[in-house]
């Protein structure tokens, strides 16, 4: 009993009071593209990017592909690329994930009145990993730990698809998981939504060129929320889902 109290005292208060206003020190988050001219004909950043997330004229970075690895920044001879620790990167539209000097931030998540009405006080999620490397899975798990504690907003992960309102998809969707993913979705009652977590789920990420994927599920069921990163910071998920459902923090 005494030992238990000692552990409790050391634990202190760990939860992040307002996840939207957190300041994750050191996090390599949003790419910042300076409004300076590139050297003529330079393609260094494109060559350095392992996931083809960068397009030129003007420089644009697609966070749906980007793994936030940071390989592009030191490759740029003019120092045009850097990162800040902005974690509010989630979006409701796939196109909104592209940043450039002219569009430096991700469009704010569009609050859905319909989703707010249905799920604003209770959202039950079922996780399916379809080729996820356990990076996204661990960060999704972290959402329920004492730091991020999404249970306080009525958001929980449930064991059965029968109990779920939303499917949290991680991984590039392997061919060998395609059927199990569809069966899990079919087992969920309407109304229901898909949340794509991580560069792999959003675009195939580092595995986009693989012959072992079957991503047709995403053609049939467009995600309501895209949560970029590799893996996404839990704060990116929390702030995105709170915005989508119009939940105050």
């Amino acid at each position: 009993m005494f030992k238990s109290l000692v552990v409790r005292a050391s634990q202190g208060t760990q939860f992040i009071r307002d996840p939207r206003r957190a300041d994750p020190a050191g996090f390599r988050g949003r790419p910042v593209i300076a409004d300076t001219a590139c050297e003529t004909g330079c393609t260094s950043c494109v060559a350095a990017c392992p996931v083809n997330a960068i397009e030129l004229d003007p420089v644009r970075i697609d966070l749906g592909r980007c793994t936030l690895c940071g390989d592009c920044a030191p490759a740029c001879p003019t120092g045009k690329l850097s990162y800040d620790n902005d974690f509010r990167l989630a979006a409701t539209r796939r196109e909104a994930l592209v940043v450039s000097a002219a569009r430096p931030t991700i469009d704010p998540v569009e609050v859905s009145a319909e989703l707010h009405r249905r799920f604003g006080r209770s959202l039950k999620l079922r996780s399916v990993s379809a080729g996820g490397c356990n990076g996204c899975e661990l960060e999704v798990n972290a959402l329920s730990n004492v730091n991020f504690d999404i249970g306080r907003y009525g958001i929980d992960f449930v064991a059965s698809p029968r109990h779920a309102d939303g499917l949290v998809l991680t991984g590039p969707v392997t061919r060998n998981m395609a059927e199990a993913l569809q069966l899990t979705w079919d087992a969920m009652p309407e109304p229901k939504l898909v949340i794509a977590v991580g560069a792999c789920a959003i675009s195939g990420g580092p595995f986009a060129d693989s012959q072992a994927l079957d991503r047709t599920f995403l053609d049939r069921f467009a995600p309501s929320l895209y949560v970029p990163g590799c893996p996404p910071h839990p704060l990116t998920f929390v702030s995105g889902i709170l915005d989508l459902l119009g939940i105050a923090s």
Binding site: K3, S4, V6, V7, S10, Q11, P24, A25, G26, F27, R28, P50, V51, T67, L68, C69, G70, D71, P74, Y83, S127, V128, S129, A130, G131, G132, C133, N134, G135, E137, L138, V140, N141, A142, N145, V146, N147, A159, S160, P161, V168, G171, T174, R175, N176, M177, E179, A180, T184, G205, P206, F207, D209, S210, Q211, A212, L213, C230, P231, H233
Partner: protein
Amino acid sequence: MQPHASALTTPTRELAPLTLAALVDACADALAAGSRIVTLYGRRAASGVVVTAVVQSAASGLRLLRATAGDGAHYPSLTARFPAAQMFERELWEQTGLVPDGHPWLKPVRFEGARQQRMAEYPFFTVRGQDVHEVGVGPVHAGVIEPGHFRFMCHGERVQHLEIQLGYQHRGVESLLLARPPHAATSLVESIAGDTSIAYAWGWCAAVEALAGVTLAPGVERVRGVALELERIAMHLVALTGLATDIAFLQGGTTYGRLRTAIINATMRVCGSRFGRGWLRPGGVRHAIDDERRRDLLDTLAAFSKDLAEVDALMLASRSVRSRFTGTGIVTPQAARDLGLVGLAARASGVATDARTDLPGRLHSEHPVELLTEDAGDCQARLQLRMREIGASVQWLRRVLESPAAELADDRLVAPGALRPDMLCVTVREGFRGPVVQALETGADGRLVHCKLQDPSMQNWFGLALAVRDNEISDFPICNKSFDLSYCGNDL
């Protein structure tokens, strides 16, 4: 005696090819003499199949054997004599079509290539008789976890056998890695098993550097060693969180969870990512540890170890914890050796093996790691060993970080040049589960012709199946968590 290197680089023309039968015999002799088979794999070539075996002995470290065989050749199975070879021979059969005659368990490892999406055809072992029943679980599980199928064959409440079918996570990593320049592939390598990013990235970078003929400054290796121990601590904490939660020891679950946050956030303050992504690159490290970061890590570790010691003591003193874990999921030392278990699972069954002590290389000769084992081979042993390994990692980190002579601020990153032609490099790095093995081979033009990846999980999954025998299905979650194996590491 010189310490054994953690990598072996050889010109491929110096490897006199044996016949397949001779290679198998040489492996059998090595196993009989107490050596380990680190890996045994093949690749298709224009003239049939090229097979490579890597043998590790206490006396001489790593040794390479090579054989060539015709397409579809048969050979006498090594597994029939040494079960430790069972996964290697299954994978060799699935990837190259070579048939091990007499293999008792010749089944697909991951349903790759032409077998994709034929998961329903897995040839399950069946148990027949009165009161016998089967329970199938997965691929999608109750928690937030990777997919795999578990089939329990039970007699009453007792599990006779558990058959584990994997492959759902197969992403074709080995062939993807051949499609891009090896210098720019680290980001993909970090996602092979995303909880082991550092061990994979280090082994990959070391192989690329060796193939290019580049030697790095000791400070760079030291930073990589720091990164690895931080990852080992964080990921052992994941297993401890899971074990505590699975037996409803909730104070343990919440405390280990937030202690992990402290470690991975400190990792992020050094390199920008909670998982160490983007930290290691061929030719160096992208983020050195300057004095400020050094101080930050030391402060984090000091606060961490105090709180960790408290919760470890609380958990170990609890009789309900002990009664749940003690005697559950036993793998005997003999079984662990026979099956060729590796890493933590082997050490918890008394097998003294750790790549950091067996193949210490320069870094771990200069800064040695203590080799820890437990004897009981049950869930309690794997729990205690994780706690002790975290403690040992913290000590190692403090020693290195506190030593003013240990240079850590070297952030030079010089991309290695072109890879030398016709070379083979094998690297072994001890991740939190065990040895991550990577073998990279270049062809006549210096481009990679083959890339073999091996997660410790591949050998250890069968250990879990054995551990569950004679237990109840309700013991499975804690057995599974106590092993904490990787699905995508197996499925690649």
